[in-house]
Amino acid sequence: MAENKMHILVCGGTGCRASQSEQIVNNLKAELESQNLENDVRVLTTGCFGFCEKGPVVKVVPDNTFYTEVKPSDAIDIVNEHIVKGRPLQRLLYKNPKNNYKVTNTASIDFYKKQVRIALRNCGFVDPENIDEYIGRDGYEALGKCLSDYSPSEVIDIIKKSGLRGRGGGGFPTGLKWEITSKEKNDQKYVVCNADEGDPGAFMDRSILEGDPHSVIEAMAICGYCIGANKGLVYIRAEYPLAINRLKIALSQASEYGLLGNDIMGTGFDFDIEIRYGAGAFVCGEETALIHSMEGSRGEPTFKPPFPSVSGYLGKPTNVNNVETFANVPVIINKGAEWFSSIGSENSKGTKVFALAGKVNNVGLIEVPMGITLREVIFDIGGGIRNGKKFKAVQTGGPSGGCLTEKDLDIPIDYDNLIKAGSMMGSGGMIVMDEDDCMVSIAKFYLEFTLDESCGKCTPCRIGNKRLHEILDKITKGKGTEQDLERLKLLSNVIKDTSLCGLGQTSPNPVLSTLLNFEDEYLAHVREGKCPAGQCKDLLKYEIDPDLCTGCTLCYRNCPVGAISGEKKSVHYIDQSICIKCGVCFQKCKFKAISIV
């Protein structure tokens, strides 16, 4: 007997919750109750649907109707229209921006069409706080199979054959990593899940833990079985309370079911997981720094070797994988290495989750097969550039990646191609820029991030990045010289060449890639003192065209610093020494008399 006739799935990811999705759930339940429909329709909170641009998102199954930008007050209409009257609530349906047609079915939304969801398979599908739903989706079957049917080395072989590579950024083959740790001889080993996601704008790991925590728990246990560890640790940022909470619930449910603890599924294998909190330092995503932080020391990287697989947490062999990597593992075991390796490109198998952000129409969390092109991601899934502007660049790999341009749009995305193009996969941040973005400012922005997040241990990263930033700042203020561009290049290369950890070794990438691809823009700043994108405030000048000015005094009245003077009905004038370049006059002028020069 089917339990309910319909399910209403409400996104409970961090983004949608911030837009009151919890209230939507409450209102839906209340309304259903008032109509005596609570037994027919089940309302549940799921993990992230990915389509954060249009959140909060609500989906009704089995007919798969997809509502976007839902407000708590819409709950009544959803129940009355969709549930009672059985017709989709037209006003909340997603409208295809290309033709303005309303789309009822998730599968017909462009944002989802090219996605392949493996790591995110259960996000937006199951109730993450209910282990039964995960079990219903083949959950813990992979663990059961591994423990009962395979030897550790057979499991490692499957992972190796699948071609899975680390999703945290490095792209190290996961099976090989497990194998190395498994071969270390020690009475105590550890499995560590790196959930210290810190790239600006990236939130895939957090979303997986929020939407499907059991997949990570299961994978960690499988990893523990393979390498001979019975202790797992999840290093997660204390600033991700929802993910922590869901993970805690999942851990206690797994223990209750005996899927963690002693003698798991009667196989004699013991495995337990503890949570360790990070205080929010980007560098702690680096595995040695992460381990030091877990040990209670300052979160600083140390030189490798020794690698954690040899000497990690408390000096014991430790296998560190990131959340997304783990999330792939159970599916690989269940569906086989061949299935997984059939997806993706030659050297990068499977899918990758990206946090698509910036100037695209559809920002959100997407999972695509490796080998898809940037163009498909930005223009098909992302729905193209906002407000019909022109695409300028895309930054992949977070603050350590590089800016790729129009010429790179048809490169199939995978680990090796991105590096060849001068960027990297990173943990999957993808920020799209349009013609209004100043590339010098962008490079400066990213460097500001690394500057804040550098631990300060090694000279090039501590002082070098500071000096890089100072030079960039000088350029954006119109005080740079062509010699400064040379210095930027030289210093960037030395920082890359001499820094201790990945943070410093990649921090100059935004500078180098923008210098390479947008040299003209840099030159315009230093030679002509101009910012072609009109972003660098110090290089802007607002001027009033005497021929167009009608003397309406609107600019004069709105200027916050009194930089504009002029009599009524006569031409106005901006005193550049007072002007703070806020742009209010430019926005207010009805006669287009004010221009940026």
Binding site: D452, S454, G456, C458, R467, S499
Partner: protein, 590 residues
Amino acid sequence: MDKIKLTIDNKEVEVAKGTTILDAAKQIGVHIPTLCHMKLHDMGIENKPGGCRVCVVEVEGRRNLAPACVTEAAAGMNINTHSIRVINARRTVTELIISDHPFECLTCAKSGECELQDLAHQMGIREIHFEGEKSVYREDTSPAIIRDMDKCIMCRRCEMMCNEVQTVGVLSAINRGFYAVVSPPFEQNLDHSVCTYCGQCVAVCPTGALTEVDHTPAVIRALSDPSKTVVVQTAPAVRAALGEEFGFEPGTLVTGKMVAALRRLGFNYVFDTDFAADLTIMEEGTEMLDRLSRHLNGDKTVKLPILTSCCPAWVKFFEHQFPDMKDIPSSAKSPQQMFGAIAKSYFAEKQNINRKDLVVVSVMPCLAKKYESSRDEFAVDGNPDVDFAISTRELAALIKLANIEFKALPEEDFDHPLGESTGAGVIFGTTGGVIEAAVRTAYELHTKKPLPKLNFDELRGMEGVREATIDFDGLPIRIGIAHGLGNARKLLEDIRSGKSHFHAIEIMSCPGGCIGGGGQPYHHGNSDILIKRQKAIYQEDSMKTLRKSHENPYIVKLYEEFLGHPMSDKAHHLLHTSYFDRSKHFEQED
């Protein structure tokens, strides 16, 4: 051990597996410059955070440059230590460090001894191509150590000494990125921390970020004041290291020249802390025998082992960290403070000088002695027993300031009565020395028999923790020795948990004992220097005719004329002290 072959600067070299590129290069005479790296080989102390990146070299086939100090040499490696890529990187890194460093070399206390200065010279830096913000911190002045973190280059040597070697845990990196700096907890000043003033941070600091509080101006003022009688005492370890400041080989004893120099500086009496060391043995040795015999007679209230108490950093360490055990160390004052107390009582009376007009200056290998002399309990009506404690380095500076050609000085003798000492007093300057001196006296006092041999090789050495059993004519006395507070901590924890089986333990805070003190000439990471100083100390001991403290005629006379007998009421009043629980000693500053 497995050997591997590799090529460095076109030369093939064979090294043991596990050797770093830095050490491998040294074997063929290639000295790759370093800055943060420091290795005190004989003490097993090494700082290699791989942070400064000065030692980077090019390894064929490697994506980026490799830091030589932490990268293990591998078979078949082809390394270039001075390619244009390397030189460019190394100079840029050096320039970056300097770009965040004050240009104060001319007035810096570390000028001439600064490793950053040396590096800049070696790199041929003539211009700094980067300019920008510089780190600015408030200066922190404590009774012994000055922290000027503007000059910190984040080598982390001090942090390593403070945490790993000394386990004091005051200094640690805080903040991030450009604003990362080494600091006491909560950015408090040192005097609001559990700092012991051992000065090992100063001893290893490559720049002028950590230096001692300079007492030389006060000493010069006292010397030029005609109303003052100024006496000086010199600690045993000073004579074994002072020569290094004047171009002598490390390990050269310069006792006589030092005395001559002090006289020429204008000290009215040049005395010896070694005399007070002999006195310490009388008091401490007697206390030890007293506790021991009561223990052997079944007195359960007596606590053993007895711990030495000559080292002020050690005293402050247990006051902060082991206050529950503050009744275990000997109550005897340190030789410096015994000297001050005797000088300002016995000697002042003898010479008929008001103690206020008598200035006692001590020359110490130590920075904690500055703090010790400032402790309230070591003063009478606000007049300290020891007025100024200067380091070996400060004495050298005074000698240079007074235009004295040290090398040409004649050898002179100490003044009497507080300048006579035995070999037992001399060996106070090295780890194992205090307890050996105590054994020499305690043995004879206990057994009433002459010692069959004077050298106790079983107590000597450089291992961090040593133990030996000395046969007191049928009574086995178990002795422990620790130098370095981290090693001391191990023994203390054993005592706390009841695992300790020792009767007596000697503790010195600095690796090697006072010869490696925070006020000694900088060793710049060369531990051979410490070994040589230790040899010099034992050499001076062996040259002495009198080598047992109780045989020092001036000590005998002091008891006869003034103190009565060891542990007499008068001795107790002048020569013993008590300790404080400092576990909750300091409050937060605003």
